[in-house]
C-alpha cells in the first residue's frame, strides 16, 4: 500500500497535443479538486491553431491547475507535477517543472516521427538526464489505453482519443480523489454516445487502477479542503461571469438587454453564453463587423435597451469612431474588451494588458469615458454589473477591461445573493413639458434617457457638437468649450460612485505595489507573502482607471517606492505619474503570460535592497527623465 502524505497545495499541468483532450482532463480534475473542497485556480493555455497538426510544437495545448487547502490567487508559478502526453509537450514544458517535481510521460508517443516534429535528435527519455532532476514516471499510456479497450467496437483512432482519461484516472488515484463521481460525470457527458462513455470510463478506471497496482507511486497525496466561508460556490471563468453580470445588470435596471458582437478570440465566449439566455430577455446579434456591432449597440441604447458589445483589441480599435458617437450623444453602452497580446493581430490566444491606453485615449477629440477593469474571473461579474449601473446612471459608454487570462481561467466563486444587489431601475422620462434634450441632472450631469415611442418628446441627436441645453447642432465656440468640459466633468463625477480603494497592507511603508485587472492574484499573493515575512509592502489594486480611483491620492505618496506592475510597457504607470507626479517605477512583462508570484516578489525584494536578477524578459522600468 502506498503511504498517504498531506500537502498544502499542488500545481499540476497537463500538456499534450491539441487533439489529446488536455483541456477536458484539466477541467475534470479541477472539478474534482473543487468538489473535494480545495481552493482552485486554473490556467488553460491553447495554441492559436484550431487543430494544429498532431505532434507539432505549436500544437501543444496545456491546462494548469493549482489546488490548495489554503487561499490561493493564481494557478501557480511552476508545476509540481507535469503530465506530458507527447514529445512536443515535454519539449515545450519541461523547463517549467520545479526541481524534483513529478514528471509523468506517455512513452507510447515517443516514436521517431514525433521526436522529429518536436525537434529531438535523441529520445530524451533514454538519456537518463530527466531522472537526475525529476521524479520520472514513464508509462506507455497509449498502449495501456488501447489494451483497456481491447474487444470494444471502437476504431483504433477512437481508442487513441480516450488516453487522456487514463491520465485523469491516474492523477485521481495519486491525489486520492473519489473516482465514483467522475465516473458518473463521464456517463452524463456522453449520454448521447453511451459507447464512448463506457469506453472512457474503462480507460479512466484503468488509469486509476494502474496507480493502485503498479507500485511505481509510493505515495498518495492528500490536499485537505480549504477553509471556505459558508455559502454557495460555483466554479466560473471570467467570460461566463461577465455574461452573467450583464444579464444581472440588465435585470437590476429593469431593462431588456441587447448584445451585439463580432466573434474574436478571446471574447467570443461572452456572445456564445448570452445567445443561450434568450428567455432572460437577452437579444444577441452577430453583426457583420465590430463597427456594426458598436453601431447596433448605440441604436439599441437609443431605443432603451441595456446595450452591450464585446471584442478584443483589434475589434475595439475599429469601434473607436463609433464609441465617440456614444460619448457625444451620451448614450449608455457597455463595451467589453477581453484583451489579448498585441499590437495588430499579435498573439490572439495569449493574455496581455496593453489596451489600457486605447481604452482611455483611443478616440478622436476629447472623448473621455469611464473604464473599469476586472481583477479575477469572478470579479468579471461584479464589474459587469457595475459598468451597467454607471453607464445608465451617468448616460455614458463604459469600457470594461478583462483579459485572456481571467476570461479563460476559472476559480471557485462564492455566488452573490442576488436579492442583496441594489436595483437601479430606469425610468424613461415621458413628460413633454419643458423637455430639453441635453438638460442635465445636477449631481451626475447625466442627460435624461428619453426613448422613441414617447409622444411629445420627439427630438433629434447626433455626432455634431450640440447645444448644452437644447441638443440642437451648435457651432458656438463657448458652447463647445462648455460641452467639452461638461463631458469631462461627468466622467470625473463617476468617482462619487466608486467604493473604497482595494488596498491590502498599511497606508504607508516601503513599497506600494499598484496593479489593475487580471494581475491581481499574483500581486496579492506576492505582497501578502512578503508582508508575512515582515516587509512593509502594500498592494493597491485599481478597479476604476477612469476616473482614477480617488482612494489612491491618499496613499500613493506615503511609500518609499511605488511600483506599477502591468503586462505591458507601463501604461497605468504613465497615467499615475502624470496624475500624481510620483516617480513610480514599472514592473513589466509582455510575453503573453501572466505574472508569476516569484517574479513580483523578486522585483519587490530588489526595491527593498536585494539585488536579485529578475527572470528573463521581465523588466523593472525606471524613469530616465524624471
Amino acid at each position: 500500500m502506498a503511504e498517504t502524505k498531506n500537502l498544502d497545495r499542488v500545481v499540476i499541468r497537463f500538456v499534450g497535443d491539441s487533439g489529446d483532450g488536455m483541456q477536458l482532463t484539466g477541467t475534470e480534475f479541477a472539478k474534482a479538486a473543487a468538489e473535494a473542497g480545495n481552493d482552485i485556480s486554473t490556467f488553460p493555455d491553447f495554441p492559436a491553431e484550431i487543430r494544429a497538426p498532431a505532434g507539432s510544437l505549436f500544437g501543444v495545448s496545456g491546462f494548469q491547475l493549482h489546488f490548495s487547502s489554503s487561499d490561493i490567487y493564481t494557478p501557480g508559478d511552476a508545476p509540481d507535477v507535469l503530465v506530458a502526453m507527447n514529445p512536443a509537450a515535454l519539449k515545450t514544458n519541461i523547463k517549467d517543472l520545479v526541481d524534483a517535481g513529478t514528471l509523468i510521460v506517455n512513452t507510447g508517443t515517443f516514436i521517431d516521427a514525433n521526436l522529429k516534429k518536436a525537434g529531438y535528435a535523441q529520445n530524451p527519455l533514454e538519456s537518463g538526464d530527466l531522472e537526475k532532476r525529476y521524479k520520472v514516471h514513464l508509462i506507455d499510456i497509449s498502449h495501456l489505453t488501447s489494451a483497456a479497450l481491447d474487444g470494444t467496437s471502437l476504431s483504433t483512432k477512437e481508442k487513441g482519443r480516450a488516453k487522456n482519461f487514463f491520465a485523469l484516472g491516474l492523477v485521481f488515484w495519486m491525489y486520492g480523489r473519489d473516482p465514483e463521481s467522475e465516473i458518473r460525470r463521464i456517463h452524463q457527458q456522453f449520454a448521447k454516445k453511451p459507447e464512448f462513455g463506457e469506453a472512457n470510463v474503462k480507460v479512466f478506471k484503468a488509469g486509476y487502477h494502474y496507480g493502485e497496482t503498479a507500485e511505481v507511486f509510493q505515495t498518495v497525496y492528500k490536499v485537505p479542503p480549504a477553509n471556505f466561508a459558508p455559502g454557495m460556490y460555483r466554479n466560473i471563468t471570467g467570460n461566463e461571469a461577465a455574461a452573467l453580470g450583464l444579464v444581472v445588470g440588465a435585470h437590476l435596471s429593469g431593462k431588456p438587454m441587447f448584445f451585439s458582437g463580432y466573434p474574436i478570440t478571446p471574447a467570443s465566449a461572452i456572445l456564445h453564453s448570452l445567445a443561450r439566455y434568450k428567455n432572460f430577455g437577452c437579444m444577441t446579434f452577430q453583426a457583420e463587423d465590430e463597427i456594426a456591432a458598436m453601431g447596433a449597440a448605440i441604436g439599441a441604447a437609443y431605443g432603451g435597451s441595456v446595450a452591450v458589445t464585446a471584442s478584443s483589441g483589434p475589434g475595439i480599435a475599429l469601434k473607436g469612431e463609433a464609441i465617440g458617437l456614444a460619448v457625444m450623444t451620451e448614450l449608455p453602452v457597455i463595451i467589453v474588451n477581453v484583451q489579448r497580446g498585441g499590437p495588430s493581430t499579435g498573439l490572439p490566444t495569449k493574455t496581455e494588458q496593453s489596451d489600457l491606453f486605447q481604452a482611455i485615449y483611443g478616440r478622436n477629440g476629447e472623448a473621455p469615458l469611464p473604464v473599469i477593469a476586472a481583477k479575477s474571473p469572478g470579479d468579471c461579474f461584479y464589474c459587469a454589473v457595475e459598468a451597467t449601473r454607471i453607464a445608465i446612471k451617468y448616460m455614458v459608454p463604459v469600457i470594461l477591461l478583462s483579459d485572456g487570462y481571467i476570461a479563460n481561467g476559472s476559480e471557485p466563486w462564492p455566488l452573490p445573493n442576488l436579492s442583496s444587489l441594489p436595483r437601479f431601475d430606469v425610468t424613461h422620462r415621458t413628460d413633454p413639458k419643458d423637455y430639453f434634450v441635453y438638460e442635465r441632472d445636477p449631481k451626475t450631469l447625466a442627460r435624461q434617457w428619453v426613448v422613441p415611442g414617447t409622444p411629445g418628446l420627439e427630438h433629434r441627436i447626433g455626432g455634431i457638437e450640440k447645444d448644452a441645453l437644447t441638443g440642437n447642432i451648435s457651432y458656438d465656440p463657448m458652447n463647445h468649450e462648455k460641452q467639452v468640459h461638461v463631458r469631462a466633468e461627468k466622467i470625473e463625477r463617476v468617482a462619487q460612485d466608486i467604493g473604497e480603494l482595494d488596498l491590502r497592507g498599511e497606508e504607508s511603508g516601503d513599497v506600494l505595489v499598484i496593479g489593475w485587472g487580471g494581475t491581481f492574484g499574483a500581486l496579492r499573493q506576492a505582497t501578502d507573502g512578503l508582508r508575512a515575512r515582515g516587509k512593509r509592502v502594500s498592494h493597491a489594486h485599481v478597479r476604476w482607471l477612469s476616473p482614477m480611483e480617488p482612494g489612491l491620492a491618499r496613499v500613493i505618496k506615503n511609500f518609499k517606492h511605488v511600483m506599477v506592475a502591468e503586462l505591458n510597457l507601463g501604461q497605468l504607470r504613465a497615467i499615475l505619474r502624470a496624475t500624481f507626479l510620483v516617480d513610480a517605477i514599472g514592473l513589466n512583462k509582455v510575453q503573453g503570460q501572466p505574472f508569476k508570484v516569484r517574479e513580483v516578489e523578486l522585483a519587490i525584494e530588489n526595491l527593498l535592497g536585494a539585488d536579485a536578477p529578475l527572470p528573463e524578459g521581465v523588466t523593472q522600468t525606471r524613469s530616465a527623465n524624471a
Binding site: M232, N235, F280, M283, G295, A296, A300, V451, P455
Partner: protein, 345 residues
C-alpha cells in the same frame, strides 16, 4: 408600420423647428417636402417614427423631421438602425443616406441590412457626388467624372445601386426622382406598408457640385423613364417604344406597333413587382443612357424579417423555457455549497 390610431396630420406637423440648411435649389428640399407630406397623409405616429442617417448633406434629413431622429456617423446608419429595429420592432425606422454614405463607406452595412431583410425603409439620395465634402466623385459617378479628387476623370466603374440592392437581397426595391412628388409619394406609401428591407433610390440633383446629372432622365420623362405599373408592358416614349427580352436574355428597345420593324405590344416584357429575381435583374440593368430608367417599384418579395425572426425566437424561448430564473441561472454549471461548519455539501 405601427398600428396607428389615425390622427389627422398636416405636412407642418412633420416639420421640426430647425432651419433647413441645404443649398438653395438642392434636390433634398423636394424630397423632404414629399416625405413630410406623405407621412402626414399616412397619419403615422410621429413618436413611433425614427429617422436614422449617416453623414452627408442628405444625412442632415432627420433634423428637419418632427419625429425622433438620429444623425449618426458616416456610413453606419444601417447598423444603428438595425440595433434599434431589432430591439424596438414597434417603431417605424427610416434610414436616410447618400451615395457616398450608403455605398462607399457604408456599403457593407447596407449589404448586410438588406441581406438580413431588416425591416428598415432605406432612402438613398443619389446625386452621384459627395456633396458635404465639396464635390468629390462617388461610387455612383460615371466613369470619367471630373471632380475635386479626379481632375483628369475618374477611373472607377460605378456601382448600380439597384443591382447592388437586388444582389444583396432587398425585398422592396424602387426608384423615383426628387422632383416627381407624385411617384415618390406612391412609392413611399407602399414602402411604408412593406415589412422588410426597403431600398429606394432617389435621383437627386446637387446644383452646386453635380448640377443636372439626372437632367436627361428627369427632363424627358416620356423618353427616358419607364413608369412601372403592375401587369403593364414596359412601354415608354408615349407607348411607341418598349422593352423586349432578346436573344441571350439581352433586353432590347423596340418600336411598338404594327408594320415592318415594329413589334406588337404582346411581345414586350410585362411588369410584375413580384416577378422573378431574374426579371428584376433585367430591370436593374436598364440604365440611362443606353436605356430608359424604370421608375416606381421594381421588385418586392415577402420574406421573414430579421427582427421578426429574432423576436420570435425570444418569444419562443420564453414560452418553452419560461421566463428566465436568475437564481437558477446563477446556480448552473459546477456548483457546491459550503456549510456553516465549513464543510461542503
Amino acid at each position: 408600420m405601427s398600428e396607428a390610431v389615425k390622427i389627422k396630420l398636416s405636412k407642418k406637423d412633420l416639420e421640426s423647428d430647425q432651419d433647413v440648411r441645404w443649398c438653395p435649389g438642392c434636390g433634398d428640399y423636394a424630397i423632404l417636402a414629399t416625405v413630410q407630406r406623405t407621412l402626414a397623409t399616412l397619419s403615422v405616429r410621429r413618436e413611433n417614427t425614427v429617422f436614422v442617417s449617416g453623414i452627408g448633406c442628405s444625412s442632415r434629413f432627420p433634423y428637419y423631421m418632427n419625429t425622433y431622429g438620429f444623425h449618426t456617423i458616416h456610413g453606419r446608419a444601417p447598423a444603428v438602425a438595425s440595433g434599434l429595429k431589432i430591439t424596438r420592432p414597434d417603431l417605424d425606422v427610416w434610414v436616410v443616406t447618400g451615395d457616398g454614405d450608403g455605398l462607399s463607406i457604408g456599403g457593407n452595412h447596407m449589404l448586410h441590412a438588406l441581406r438580413r431583410n431588416m425591416d428598415l425603409k432605406i432612402l438613398l439620395f443619389n446625386n452621384q457626388i459627395y456633396g458635404l465634402t465639396k464635390g468629390q466623385y462617388s461610387p455612383t459617378s460615371a466613369l470619367g467624372t471630373r471632380a475635386a479628387s479626379t481632375p483628369t476623370g475618374s477611373v472607377d466603374h460605378p456601382v448600380n445601386p439597384i443591382s447592388f440592392a437586388l444582389g444583396a437581397g432587398a425585398t422592396f426595391i424602387a426608384r423615383a426622382a426628387d422632383t416627381d412628388a407624385k411617384l415618390m409619394a406612391a412609392v413611399l406609401e407602399q414602402a411604408y406598408r412593406h415589412k422588410g428591407a426597403v431600398f429606394i433610390e432617389l435621383l437627386q440633383n446637387c446644383p452646386v457640385f453635380n448640377d443636372g446629372v439626372w437632367e436627361a432622365v428627369k427632363d424627358d420623362p416620356a423618353g427616358k423613364q419607364i413608369i412601372l405599373a403592375e401587369g403593364k408592358p414596359l412601354l415608354f416614349a408615349g407607348g411607341t417604344k418598349g422593352i423586349r427580352l432578346g436573344a441571350g436574355m439581352v433586353p432590347e428597345i423596340v418600336e411598338v406597333g404594327e408594320g415592318p420593324g415594329k413589334v406588337p405590344q404582346t411581345d414586350l416584357l410585362v411588369h410584375s413587382e413580384r416577378g422573378s429575381r431574374n426579371y428584376a435583374h433585367l430591370l436593374a440593368e436598364l440604365v440611362h443612357p443606353a436605356f430608359p430608367m424604370p421608375m416606381g417599384v421594381l421588385y418586392r418579395e415577402d420574406k421573414p424579417t430579421y427582427d421578426g425572426l429574432a423576436n420570435a425566437q425570444m418569444a419562443e424561448a420564453r414560452q418553452k423555457q419560461g421566463p428566465g430564473d436568475l437564481e437558477k441561472l446563477m446556480l448552473s454549471g459546477m456548483v457546491w455549497e459550503v456549510g456553516a461548519d465549513g464543510t461542503r455539501h
